[in-house]
């Protein structure tokens, strides 16, 4: 069972859940006299919740080194689940611990309700937990997105920082806690370091990021554009199937993730990305001018690491624009092993990569393009039994479709640990 995820992910959970809060809890318990203070367990719950919230903020800085170890989707999953856990344990704290100070109660209460709102909002607008699985919720989200656009959602999500500051104040107001010197030094140290890391990522890091330019654009259809970016003097920009967060000057101040389409090349200075119009910023990008300055954060992704951990044949299933990173993988690993690409599109106008696929010539390479979704009975005719048992399957596309393909593959006998996916939650 432990083989299902990289060891680093288990370590991240261990650090987040136990090791990170431990110094805070220990220092407080030793200071207040563990065993002599029955109420301490409820106070500890609050301390643990705060530590988890801080760790969540650290993960929100999406460290590239951590992405390479566990992958950004897993990192976001830990980020989200820690938030839910923190909220639950904070509920225990506020439900069982009685406080007499009006300001202490007020700051704690407001922070808790802010965190509760933050979790509900993020579950709906920022994660695929609900929208990927419940079509009703997905429809509600689509309607509400008329007003709650991505940029506004980001700012609403940042209210969690206000909740953290309120909790910081809450703790400083509690007389029997704020004179525990060791605990308070650690508490303030943790807070300042984590918030500084966050500020660094948002305010300092952009000035240090690699800057390039739009070299060329190619309209593939009315909603899709292929953008070629150049980063002069760059070496080893990315690995196959990676993605970057891009900030286009004059388009948006928010960074958006796009996967690379081209081959990973040690000497390459260029990145090609596929941009499909799904929101305000991606709509503007359809008309981006050549010469526009671009900042990149990354690269992120674990596809190459996963592919290179063995010599299994590859079955790459791209759903719509989800083919982009898989094309990068196919181009990079062509000739090194058996590769089968399956690409589903809505209609003929969306077959913009057909010539690119046709250009990949190798006896071990094959591809199949279909308008409309895959059906389970197709899998057994398209993919040989040997491949179903042995190959590594990489699936990229809209989250609900990816989940459905995963289910079909599992039913067709593909082992769970041969499946890797990237879900594009819109």
């Amino acid at each position: 069972m432990l083989k299902k995820y990289p060891l680093a992910l288990y370590l991240v959970w261990l650090i987040a859940l136990l090791l990170f809060p431990a110094p805070l809890v220990l220092s407080l318990n030793l200071g207040m006299g563990a065993g002599n203070t029955p109420q301490l367990i409820w106070i500890d719950c609050g301390v643990i919740a705060y530590a988890w919230w801080l760790f969540e903020v650290f993960l929100a800085t999406r460290p590239t080194w951590l992405d390479r170890l566990i992958g950004l989707p897993a990192l976001y999953f830990v980020h989200g689940l820690l938030g839910v856990d923190a909220l639950l344990i904070a509920f225990v704290h506020r439900n069982f611990l009685i406080s007499m100070g009006a300001q202490i109660r007020l700051t704690g209460k407001v922070a808790w309700y802010l965190a509760l709102f933050g979790i509900i909002y993020a579950s709906l607008f920022m994660s695929g937990w609900l929208v990927d699985r419940l079509p009703v919720i997905a429809r509600v989200k689509t309607k509400l997105q008329f007003f709650f656009k991505h940029r506004l959602s980001l700012w609403i999500h940042r209210l969690n920082l206000v909740a953290i500051l309120l909790i910081w104040l809450h703790v400083h107001l509690i007389g029997r806690v704020n004179h525990q010197l060791v605990f308070m030094l650690l508490f303030d140290g943790y807070t300042v370091l984590i918030l500084s890391a966050y500020l660094w990522q948002k305010w300092v890091a952009p000035t240090q990021r690699r800057t390039g330019q739009v070299l060329a654009t190619q309209r593939l259809n009315e909603r899709t554009v292929l953008i070629t970016l150049v980063f002069r003097g760059a070496r080893q920009l990315f690995q196959a199937g990676d993605f970057f967060f891009f900030t286009f000057e004059g388009i948006s101040r928010e960074a958006h993730p796009f996967s690379v389409v081209n081959q990973a090349d040690a000497a390459g200075e260029q990145i090609q990305i596929l941009v499909r119009s799904v929101g305000d910023d991606t709509r503007k990008l359809q008309q981006v001018a050549v010469g526009t300055v671009v900042q990149v954060e990354g690269p992120f992704g674990r596809f190459a690491a996963i592919v290179e951990q063995d010599r299994r044949p590859l079955v790459l299933i791209g759903l719509g624009s989800g083919l982009a990173p898989l094309l990068s993988l196919a181009r990079t690993y062509l000739g090194t092993r058996s590769i089968q690409v399956i690409w589903t599109v809505k209609n003929d106008r969306d077959r913009y990569f057909v010539t690119d696929l046709a250009a990949l010539v190798d006896p071990q390479f094959s591809y199949f393009i279909q308008n409309g979704r895959l059906r389970s009975e197709q899998l057994s005719t398209m993919i040989s039994p040997e491949k179903l048992a042995q190959a590594r399957f990489l699936i990229v596309g809209p989250a609900s479709a990816v989940l459905s393909i995963r289910k079909m593959l599992r039913q067709a006998g593909v082992p769970r640990d041969h499946l890797t996916d990237e879900r594009l939650t819109m």
């Binding site: 203070t37 029955p38 109420q39 611990l97 009685i98 007499m100 007389g175 704020n178 010197l181």
Partner: protein, 235 residues
């Protein structure tokens, strides 16, 4: 580059500021309300109007214990109280009254030399400060002479999860080791808080019997509960 140094410098300044604040808060403040250690301990209990004996009332209740050997010491706060009620007599006072009626014991109410503020929140803040400072607020009147009593009922509200500091003042001045101590308390949902630990630490030789704790707001309807508790204790 400029931003990098602004952030590093800002972070250091904030850290130094916060650490200084933490250091300042951790230092014990001068305890202005502490009782002087030279203050004499009153040798015997004085029955003031508030300490009026309930022996006569209790005569009909046929206590199984010797009522002359029972002392009910309590601290109670009247006036504006939690949650937004005005009390003529505090909740703890009401329980003490009930105990006195059943046991026929003598009541002794702990009173501070300087009354707590009438404003509830101000009292809360003062109580917190006193607890932080480990203060011993000066008491009014003579302390009871506990030597003549065998059983001591000790009642108090829970303040900041512990005993109010005026009770600690009294505890420092009377020795309840070798006595039977029966605690009772009122609270706002925190149960005993840390008070039993504090009591046992102060009187390791005392024989503690089953106490009674209740939320203050429920005291008005706790007549039967209190009677049952006392009956279980043999009264």
């Amino acid at each position: 580059m400029k931003r990098k140094w602004i952030l590093i410098l800002g972070m250091l300044v904030v850290l130094v500021g916060l650490f200084s604040l933490d250091l300042a808060k951790s230092r014990p403040r001068p305890v202005t309300t502490a009782i002087r250690s030279s203050q004499p301990v009153v040798s015997r209990a004085t029955r003031t109007s508030d300490q009026a004996s309930s022996s006569k009332k209790a005569a009909n209740s046929q206590p199984t214990h010797n009522s002359e050997r029972v002392l009910i010491i309590y601290y109670s706060r009247s006036g504006t109280n939690y949650p937004d009620v005005t009390l003529k007599h505090g909740h703890t006072w009401q329980i003490a009254q009930e105990i006195a009626q059943v046991t026929g014991g003598t009541r002794y109410q702990i009173q501070t030399a300087q009354a707590y503020p009438k404003n509830y929140q101000a009292t809360v803040d003062q109580a917190e400060q006193e607890q932080q400072d480990n203060a011993r607020p000066r008491l009014k009147g003579k302390l009871p002479d506990v030597t003549q009593y065998e059983t001591i009922f000790l009642g108090y509200p829970i303040w900041w999860s512990d005993l109010p500091m005026p009770v600690r003042t009294l505890m420092d001045q009377i020795d309840l080791n070798d006595k039977v101590v029966i605690p009772f308390s009122t609270n706002a949902g925190s149960g005993w808080g840390d008070s039993l630990t504090t009591l046992k630490r102060q009187y390791p030789q005392a024989k503690f019997r089953k106490g009674f704790e209740i939320e203050g707001a429920d005291v008005d309807h706790a007549h039967k509960q209190i009677r049952r508790w006392l009956r279980d204790l043999g009264y």
